[in-house]
Amino acid sequence: MLLCLKIEVVSVKEVFLMNEKYGVDCGKTYDRFEAALSETGNDASLIIPMLQALQDEFGYISDDVILWLSERTGVFASKIRGVVTFYSQFRTSPLGKNLIRICFGTACHVNGAQRIADALCDELSVGMDEVTPDGLFSIEKAMCLGCCSLAPVMAIGDEIYGGLTPDKARKIVREIRDREVADVEN
């Protein structure tokens, strides 16, 4: 069983190297993979920190990354995938350019977090955990951003916005969208 999987994994890497030979840009991705892990060890107990480093690099954990990691550590790909899907930090698809995290901690909940979420989903015409078609925004729930006295709160990137109303939240997102669109036009 171990042998089978090993062979399959090695062949995946070979496929990518072959693709590179024929001009498909996968080798560079593999280099980025190697670079992201240059400071962590290879031990199986380090799977979570390795995945964290890889997600920092790629923005999400792709199937390729899982297979490469499996090859590197000797841990079954299925087990790594199990870890990826268990923890809410890991994503298996790319994010929008601006990540909106709406806090759903208790203080925000009782102060109307759901109304903020509804307003933003309406404003951007997307659902929770989705990406807008233009790739500009993703919306996620966050469990407590830890600034309860500013509730309700959301974070866009690293910036935190507190004391929100549905209107204020819409306005903030509109401003970012306008700025992004203007940047593209320039």
Partner: protein, 582 residues
Amino acid sequence: MTGRWQTLKIKVGLASCSIAAGAQKVYDALSSLAAEDVQICKAGCLGLCYLEPLIEVYDDEGKRFLYGNVTEKTAAEIYNSHAQFSREISKYLVSNGFSRQERLILARCGEIDPESLDEAMALGAYEGLKNALAMTPDEVIETMKASGLRGRGGAGFPTGVKWSLARASKGDEKFVICNADEGDPGAFMDRSILESDPHAVIEGLAIAGFAVGAGRGIIYVRAEYPLAVKRLGAAIKQAAENGILGKDIFDSGFDFTIEIKQGAGAFVCGEETAMIASIEGGRGMPRIRPPYPAERGLFGKPSNINNVETLAAAAFVMNNGAAAYAAHGTDESAGTKVFALAGKVQNGGLYEVPFGMTVRDLIFEVGGGVRGGKGFKAVQMGGPSGGCLPEEKLDTEIGYAALSQTGAIVGSGGVIVLDETSCMVDLAKYFLAFTQDESCGKCTFCRIGTTRMLEILTRITNGEGEADDVQRLEELAMQVKENALCGLGQTAPNPVLTTIKYFKNEYYEHIYQKKCSACACTSLINYSIDEEKCTGCTACSRACPAGAITGAMKEKHIIDTEKCTKCGTCLDRCRFGAILVQ
């Protein structure tokens, strides 16, 4: 320059919550403004979240002035007033944020620059470790037992006893682990301690390591706390560079190192055995105890796990003696507890109070009561594992035994105040949705039991509740409580059980009258316009995202309830109080 402000020093609180409120901008503004010989320093969190950003000015006579809700503009005013005229601006001063607090664990939080080892040591950091290393491990454990300190993570297990179990376990290698996976939504005391006084936690962990005979410590921090991780990492490095961690600490022959492990977002990892599975690199799922981690823990070795606040308290005990700690609080629950007050409370923040204070005093004296003059309805203590208390239980003294008799718990210390606009059924649903989502899925009772309970609560709040739903909820709750594998499942039904116990009528109102008198359950409310009050200003109809409001200028408006999505935008926009919610 005859030095009127030569020794002027301004401290800006820079923890996650202060930065969210704009403290970094204030710090930057002051830094660019200040003359060369004025010190602008960083500090941690004072716990007065509702007043953030906070700055503290030390004048040339050593007097201190604390200012709250500072903006870039008022910061400049305050600076100029002190720098040029040596005068405070009294209208911005904070009065009386600390009455009735007994700050033992938080003593250095907000006082020191969390990135400075010297400042921490000037205020007593690592004195406790020195004292411990001068004793035998058994003496340290006896001191902990005498202090009466109990685990602050929620379960309240006596810390000294826990250490003695790990010490008694045979093993060539042992671990001590600090549980900083603070996942309760609405609790942030561990984050605040890690961000504001990381050395207290390092010291406590080293003392625990010495007491149980472990050479390696691990701090498992929630991934959502990047600033805490950064400051903790810097503090560990400083400690190691100064011989406080590493080989032969303080010439005692004791070797100890600490590493940080970051969690990846799973509430269940706050449970000891799940945390161990996560540190080992797998899915964070709990396992049956016994064997307890004290016998077989991380990598199969004896391990001792303590919460952040417990370790900070252990450092205090070793520094000041067991009696000094036990002098606070009650016989059954010794010492102090840090509570995070949030929700509909006036003065939201982090407060350290002695056990034995009543819940009423905590909310109304320390927390300043309910915000916006609304009526008090309930207080939720202990997060998803805890329960709600109604008005008539407010005189309960805060303590492990007294609180658990009511159905609430001390827990990790999250306190959410609820007013008359909060629906208790909705709150029970909120917590259950949280635990259902965070259930790891290993045991059937938690996985399926919480799902079924959530289904029932959802239909009740949707106005589709059935006659015996409350009874069904209670039966399921008891099953899950008795049979779930770990603490997450065993305590998950608590929010439901306590709301049924104290607010049964609200459940009945939802089920039989299809009504939510708090107007929180959107399926059960309707928006309409009070014709008497409507001036026909069109503010609401222009704002309505669903186009559900019609009416010409200066004529009465009407809401089409078919189209209305109940988003509440009109309610925010109307300046005449003409929007009715029923």
